[in-house]
């Protein structure tokens, strides 16, 4: 079983390759889009690389649940995620800490949730689940 540090190091190396960024740019709090410049196609590339690197399967929308925020009026109203939407996200993304996001749940802020640390937490969860 890989340690937290090993997982983080591999996630960091994966992002450096996928996003062509420098090692010192990748910090646990770095956001993929804002800080590391990820674009839509990069998210798929990252998923592919993580699958290969860790030997896991990442179903579509599990790590990056884009569909959650697409157009459903129950989930998004006036550019903000509804309380029901937040519950939905909590269920779908147990690896994410939604406390801050829930205070001002603008859809535009959603991408800020996706940090290097979040990816590492997600992988930790996947690997732990796979072990059982």
């Amino acid at each position: 079983m890989a340690t937290k540090e090993e997982i983080y190091a591999k996630v960091s190396a994966t992002l450096i390759e996928a996003l062509n960024v420098e090692e010192d740019e990748v910090k646990p709090t770095s956001t993929l889009q804002g800080d590391l410049g990820a674009e839509s196609i990069d998210y798929l590339d990252i998923v592919f690389r993580l699958e290969r690197e860790f030997g896991i399967k990442i179903p579509r929308n599990e790590l990056f649940p884009e569909a959650v925020l697409q157009g459903d009026p129950d989930i998004v109203q006036n550019g903000k995620v509804t309380p029901k939407g937040i519950e939905d996200l909590k269920e779908k993304m147990p690896f994410a800490d939604l406390t801050e996001f829930a205070k001002n749940p603008e859809v535009n802020n959603f991408s800020d949730l996706f940090t290097v640390a979040l990816i590492a937490r997600y992988i930790e969860g996947k690997l732990a689940a796979g072990k059982n």
């Binding site: 196609i41 798929l44 590339d45 592919f48 699958e51 290969r52 579509r60």
Partner: protein
């Protein structure tokens, strides 16, 4: 000029790998300017050849139902320049294949020595949306690329072929 940057397939293993050949001829227009007296194959056109080899490999794996488009070149490395008169072998293997995208690793060889490498990421255009925009017609695998498909089919039917 036809936008085909491979001459023909040498090997084609469905869903797995493909090998194509590209002979660099002084008659190709771009060598006149790139560069006068120093005919170097533009690196972007080598990548295009790899992407065509890989794109057809990926497309064939889904019976050409998907619109396969080059989305990203994550990593590429050239060991040296390649010149008119040389024969390039494009060797491509599928790294990952999913309903929404695929990635391949492409390598270029001259005389058995590797001269370049690129990791190429293809997206499958969203079925619903691309149908709205472009209709049922698969514009990726039409016209010029259809010609290559014929070559790919021949290669896959005859299996390994070693003309050179």
């Amino acid at each position: 000029m036809r936008w085909i940057w491979i001459d023909r397939f040498l090997e084609f293993e469905s869903g797995k790998s493909a090998k194509a050949v590209k002979n660099l001829s002084t008659a190709e227009d771009h060598f006149r300017d790139h560069f006068p007296g120093y005919p170097v194959m533009p690196a972007a056109l080598i990548i295009e050849g790899l992407a065509q080899t890989g794109g057809i490999l990926v497309g064939e794996a889904n019976q050409f139902r998907e619109k396969v488009v080059l989305a990203k070149i994550a990593k590429t490395r050239f060991e040296r320049e390649m010149f008119a008169g040389e024969q390039l072998i494009y060797q491509v293997e599928i790294l990952m294949m999913r309903p929404e995208a695929a990635s391949v690793l492409g390598k270029v060889f001259v005389g058995g020595v590797q001269t370049a490498e690129a990791e190429i990421f293809f997206a499958h255009l969203d079925q619903a949306r691309s149908k709205q925009m472009f209709g049922d017609h698969n514009f990726v695998f039409s016209g010029e690329l259809k010609y290559l498909l014929g070559l790919a089919k021949v290669a896959s039917q005859t299996g390994k072929d070693s003309p050179g």
